[in-house]
Amino acid sequence: MSDHAAQHDDTAGHDHAHGGLGKYLAVFLALCVLTTMSFFTYSAAWPWRDQPQVGWAFMLAVSCTKAMLVVLFFMHVWWEANWKYVLTIPAAMMALFLVIMLIPDIGLRNRMVSQERALHMARPSDVLLLERAGEGGRSKSSAH
């Protein structure tokens, strides 16, 4: 820490003009609203209830917007030079590339799955089974 401590922020001068309570509060409100918006996918008004992918895409878009807001305003990137993208964009690209390359072997691992494994793997039918057991079984014993 002491090393950091030593660094007086001599560029602080740049930032003084920016920011300000009002802007931060606006960003804060936007973040809160966006967070609440993620829940929109759960509401009855959401049209794509049987296509979860749409909801996921929506929520990721919301998250990315939130991330942008935090990076741009709270992390002051909006007011500063673009050099920070030099670091973060390649990192983000590499991260994305890693995930994409993981898809065929891990994301689609069930394509090559062995019977021994499949036999012990949870299946959607198990969930149905449990749900059916829930309806039948609980009404029988009626714990509630």
């Binding site: 950091h4 660094q7 804060f28 993620s38 759960y42 909801g55 991330a67 709270f74 995930v99 299946r123």
Partner: protein, 331 residues
């Protein structure tokens, strides 16, 4: 080389005074020359190294999150949040807490720059408290998982993937443990009058479970019924009331039972959930330590750089949560 002949050709503006005025180093200074440097990027060393560090953190969380994404979307079944006692409102509340703390830390920075040291301290303290609150809520959530037996642990967690023979024999084995046999006997002998209505019902259900698993020739559906009695999976989709929305299982009524439970996909869920939130929590803890240290300083313009760097780190922690929250709680 004759030193006087060389004069520094340009004045390098404000950012290359860059000598580290490191406190620990100061006593050594009179010994050597104060060097001047070529202008590099228009920012302080502290800020640069912090951004570089954050880039490495991006890769760290990319590996964790990336693994989570492919493991999850490759799985045949993934539990719904309710199956694993994950509560969206609590998660959303924690998101809110972190957003607030992100605001307070910028406010602390602004206050410090404006030389309002008292105010800066106040905001810093608020940030610290918000961070602690976040951890507290996290701890509460963990506790809820643990108490339901939702964790991966050697040699086995209590989560079973499918209501099959293996599950049945695991329940049988648990019921056959000497300590449990005693408790069961005790329970059987308790007159119904001494029990609540719920307990009586649960006792009946338990009786049913015991006979069902005793028969080694069970069908999958019977095991599903057993699993449902022990810890029911809520059948309702999204939109239902959150935690507690499910009916109480035997495990909930008699916590000492700790019978194995069935959550399809639950083991991998638990593994990734604890991995991701665990490492996020570790980062929060580090942030709190930093804030605690900062509180020991005068938070004026002189130390604004420190606050800014700590803030950058804190915003990053917030950023990770911004992605964790929907991925873990809402998807």
């Amino acid at each position: 080389m004759s030193s006087p002949a060389i004069s520094v050709p340009h004045d390098h503006g404000h950012h290359d005074h860059g000598h580290h005025d490191d406190g620990h180093h100061d006593d050594g200074h009179h010994g050597h020359l104060k060097l001047q440097y070529q202008p590099g990027l228009p920012l302080s060393r502290g800020k640069l190294i912090m951004w570089l560090f954050l880039s490495t953190e991006i890769m760290f969380f990319a590996a964790l999150l990336g693994s989570y994404i492919v493991l999850r979307f490759g799985a045949a079944v993934w539990p719904k949040p309710h199956h694993v006692h994950l509560s969206e409102p609590i998660g959303a509340f924690n998101t809110f807490v972190l957003i607030c703390s992100s605001v307070t830390v910028v406010l602390a920075l602004e206050a410090a720059r404006a030389n309002k040291t008292g105010l800066a301290k106040f905001w810093m303290l608020t940030t610290l408290l918000l961070g602690a609150l976040f951890l507290g809520v996290k701890g509460y959530e963990y506790q809820a998982k643990f108490s339901h037996g939702i964790y991966p642990a050697a040699p086995h967690g209590r989560i079973y993937e499918r209501p099959d023979l293996y599950y049945g024999s695991a329940v049988r084995a648990r019921l056959g443990e000497p300590a449990i046999i005693d408790r069961l006997k005790q329970l059987d002998d308790t007159p119904a009058a001494d029990l609540t209505e719920q307990e009586v019902a649960a006792r009946a259900a338990l009786q049913q479970v015991r006979t069902m698993v005793a028969d080694t020739n069970q069908q999958a559906f019977e095991m599903a019924v057993v699993a449902d009695q022990i810890m029911p999976l809520p059948a309702d989709g999204p939109g239902s009331e959150a935690h507690g929305g499910h009916a109480q299982g035997i495990n909930d009524v008699f916590p000492w039972l700790q019978l194995p439970i069935v959550i399809p996909g639950g083991n991998m869920w638990a593994s990734t959930y604890f991995l991701l939130t665990g490492f996020h929590a570790v980062h929060v803890v580090v942030g709190l330590i930093v804030f605690a240290v900062l509180l020991g300083y005068t938070l004026g313009p002189k130390n604004a750089g420190m606050i800014e760097n700590a803030g950058l780190y804190w915003h990053f922690v917030d950023l990770v949560w911004i992605f964790l929250f929907p991925l873990l709680y809402l998807f």
